[in-house]
């Protein structure tokens, strides 16, 4: 009897310890409970703007796929990248804490932002398109981008015209995927959850070419996937915007004002030069 009691106590202790560990992990994985960086200059951090109906008061919850270097990526368990720093700067300007959700699937993000129950904004290199605008609102553009077609080095494909009827890949739900669907005749298009998965599939020979945004393609081809090359920059003239639920026009306005301010005071340009080796086109 006493043995079983001891066992029970041990079990209880174990369960307790486990649950505490889990709670701890839960807090950790949500991670990035970022305190706004100290305001530069003499002006004190502005008081939180009132009336931005965010899901958690005082916080802006951000959804992203966190796999799109140099815009957004994970460094260990920390979010990093151009968009991350821009989000922090916007948060600091508005007096809100910016909190990143764990990496999301890109193709679910617009729907999640539209539903406005899990995240306040979608900040994941969204191209502003009229189709997406029917579901969510977009901030003013913060980046000019284009599409790129990436193949393995030494392949026989010289341009996207050579890809008709082949199997090509893209991240699900991206403009790259829809560009391929619209422009490559009779191609089989494979959608992947993340661009890095699409790249892995390209290296593995599952697909002949993949389509994604040109700045990311440049970064990936130069740093990680050096066996791949860009065969064509497709001039689509896309612009990135921050997706905000249509239920929350106040937040959209605040973000727009903040973005304009950051662009005007040079914060944006400083951040830009940290990640890109060309001049910012948004002024």
């Amino acid at each position: 009897m006493s043995v079983s009691k001891k066992g029970l106590a041990l079990l209880a202790a174990l369960v307790l310890a486990l649950s505490m560990a889990l709670v701890g992990c839960g807090g950790g994985s949500k991670g990035a409970a970022e305190t706004p960086p100290p305001a530069t200059g003499d002006t004190p951090a502005p008081a939180p703007e009132e009336g931005l109906a965010t899901i958690e008061s005082g916080k802006i919850l951000v959804g992203s796929d966190c796999d799109y270097p140099p815009f957004i990526y994970m460094e260990g368990d920390q979010v990093a990248g151009f968009e991350y720093e821009l989000a922090l700067a916007i948060g600091a300007d508005l007096g809100y804490t910016v909190e990143y959700l764990p990496p999301q699937n890109f193709d679910t993000l617009i729907a999640s932002v539209a539903a406005h129950s899990k995240m306040d904004i979608g900040f994941s290199s969204f191209t502003i398109t009229d189709e997406r605008k029917e579901l969510v609102d977009f901030s003013i553009p913060y980046f000019d981008s284009n599409q790129a077609c990436v193949v393995m080095k030494g392949s026989s494909y010289a341009s996207t015209n050579d890809l008709a009827g082949l199997t090509v890949g893209a991240q699900s739900g991206t403009t790259g995927e829809s560009w391929a669907a619209e422009n490559i005749p009779d191609a089989t298009i494979k959608g992947y959850n993340q661009t890095s998965e699409a790249l892995a599939a390209l290296v593995a020979g599952d697909v002949e070419a993949i389509f994604f945004d040109e700045p990311v393609a440049v970064e990936q081809v130069e740093t990680t996937y050096t066996d791949c090359e860009i065969i064509e920059v497709i001039p689509t003239g896309e612009q990135y915007g921050i997706a905000v639920s249509k239920d929350n026009p106040a937040l959209l306005d605040a973000i727009n004002t903040s973005l304009q301010k950051l662009i005007a005071d040079g914060t944006y340009a400083t951040l830009f030069s940290k990640y890109f080796d060309f001049e910012p086109t948004i002024k």
Binding site: A111, D206, E214, G237
Partner: protein, 534 residues
């Protein structure tokens, strides 16, 4: 001398051949084209002079060939320059070249462009060097239509840096009808840049076939030129499904239904209609994967089950490592290793083949355990009885033990089949087009969860009847185990009819019931383990 002049005169190779022929005839009767080195040694030794002549001849020949090659290329160059000069006016006529004419796929749950349904039409053209474009007219094929929401977006793509094309809004006026679009630009587009025209919510003609867009443009001098014909757009006629969707969308009850957020997101009638036919093919593929993978797993599993019961320790060790490693790791991980690892070794099997192989490999480990448990659950008395009849090991196995095992393992095997069928969905993660992938693609375009619900129904079409079959089999098994040695054939048939009655009777024979429970205990132990590992 004669040869020299002939070459200088620029006679063609044929002339040269005649000249050398004459020369060599004079030297000695040998074919002219043969160089000195190929002359027979006896010849050369016999006639020193003729050899010298041959050397001289070949040198002259070589220089003649060289000179005529230079001459020929000069002529070609002149011809080429003339051709280019002739062609220049032709290219100037197409100073605005059509790069792209596309329409966005507008089929719900498909990638086709349906004529007569709103789509986005995109026209992109490049302004060639030395030209400026002030206006453009696009002429649509007959039968196009505008909707209430049709609008036009005109942009200029600045190509100053080809690596970073930049889009710029254009000041212009547009005049759009169902027949044509006239765009007049306030400022001309500079050479090298792109003109990007998008017409949203525009209906192409409702027909099955190709249509193309023609038109003209106005250069900076105000002269109108024809546009070079661009690629055509292939359309399909409206499908029955699409027609049904369209008519449903107009219904009041559908609008009322969809106004409830939950019903709209999970049970949207429009998306049910779109998903059912589209997912059917995904369902067939999933079913195909499991119907090929599972039968493949059965013999492998049986073989491994025998190995696990082998007298030899090494075989037992190897087979138990196989079973434990496969059952101890998630199928998802195995799929990733196979799909991303094998290609790195240079092995690139077809996605479906590889998918089937991975599923079969995974399932074989589970089946091995099911078979082993089934065989070991057979009463020892059966082995003893068989050997007392003079049967050897193999005979006992195939004529006594396995026939009894089959009946016992069928329910567990069926549930393994169900598990494997559901697990085909994991292949979606590596891009195998199966049920889950079809549903996912649809959900992406829909922004609505309904296709997932439809996919769930498709899975249930297979799994629910099978679950029912399992329970029938189990009842039958319990009934037959409850009785003593049922006649093999008659028992099967009659059991189906009065399975219910027999179960009741089994309940009465309390003394027998626990026996059958212990018998089948090792078999059932396999399935909870599987759940735990995933």
């Amino acid at each position: 001398m004669l040869r020299d002049t002939a070459v200088r005169d620029g006679r063609l190779p044929r002339a040269r051949a005649t000249v050398s022929l004459r020369a060599s005839t004079r030297a000695h009767l040998r074919l002219p084209a043969q160089p000195a080195a190929f002359a027979r040694p006896s010849d050369r030794a016999a006639r020193g002079t003729s050899a010298r002549a041959a050397v001289l001849h070949s040198a002259l020949l070589r220089s003649a060939v060289l000179r005529s090659a230079v001459l020929r290329s000069t002529v070609l160059l002149v011809l080429l320059v003339l051709l280019v000069l002739l062609l220049i006016p032709a290219t100037r006529a197409f100073a605005l070249t059509t790069d792209r004419v596309t329409a966005a796929p507008n089929q719900d749950g498909g990638r086709n462009i349906i004529g007569g349904e709103p789509t986005r039409l995109t026209w992109v053209g490049t302004v060639e060097e030395g030209e400026e474009v002030c206006g453009i007219t696009l002429v649509f094929p007959e039968g196009c239509a505008l909707t209430e929401d049709t609008y036009v977006k005109v942009q200029e793509m600045v190509m100053t840096d080809p690596q970073h094309p930049l889009h710029e809004e254009l000041e212009c006026s547009e005049d759009l009808t169902a027949e044509r679009l006239i765009i007049t630009l306030d400022d001309p587009i500079a050479a090298g840049n792109l003109l990007y025209v998008e017409i949203y919510k525009f209906c192409l003609p409702s027909l099955n076939g190709e249509v193309s867009i023609t038109g003209s443009y106005v250069d900076d001098a105000g002269v109108e030129h024809e546009l070079a014909p661009g690629p055509s757009i292939s359309l399909i006629a409206i499908t029955g499904t699409q027609r049904l969707i369209n008519s449903l969308a107009q219904q009041d009850w559908v609008q009322a239904w969809n106004s409830v957020k939950f019903l709209n997101i999970f049970l949207n009638p429009l998306w049910i209609v779109a998903a059912v036919p589209s997912l059917f093919f995904g369902w067939l593929r999933s079913l195909g994967l499991v119907l090929l993978g599972f039968p493949l797993a059965i013999p492998v599993g049986l073989g491994i089950a025998f190995l696990r019961m082998s007298r030899f320790r090494l075989l037992r060790l190897v087979s138990s490592i196989y079973v434990n490693v496969i059952r101890g790791t998630p199928l998802f991980l195995q799929i990733y290793i196979a799909f991303f690892g094998l290609p790195l070794l240079g092995i690139k099997p077809n996605d479906y083949v590889l998918g089937i192989l991975v599923l079969a490999m995974n399932s074989s480990a589970y089946l091995a355990e099911i078979f082993r448990a089934g065989i070991q659950s057979i009463n020892k008395g059966q082995f003893e009885a068989a050997s007392s009849l003079g049967m050897n090991g193999v005979q006992t196995m195939f004529f006594v033990i396995i026939p009894q095992t089959v009946r016992r393992v069928i329910p567990t095997m069926t549930s393994e089949f169900i598990l494997l069928f559901k697990d085909t969905s994991l292949l979606a993660a590596v891009g195998v087009m199966e049920q889950m992938m079809f549903a996912k693609t649809l959900v992406n375009t829909a922004g609505n969860m309904t296709p997932y619900v439809v996919a769930a129904c498709y899975y249930l079409i297979v799994t629910l009847p099978l679950t029912r079959i399992i329970s029938i089999f189990e009842k039958k098994l319990a009934a037959s185990e409850g009785r003593e040695a049922p006649p093999p054939d008659k028992g099967e048939k009659s059991a189906k009819v009065d399975a219910g009655k027999r179960t009741k009777r089994v309940g009465l024979f309390k003394t027998i019931a626990p026996l059958s429970a212990t018998d089948s205990a090792p078999m059932t132990s396999t399935s909870p383990e599987r759940h735990a590992s995933e």
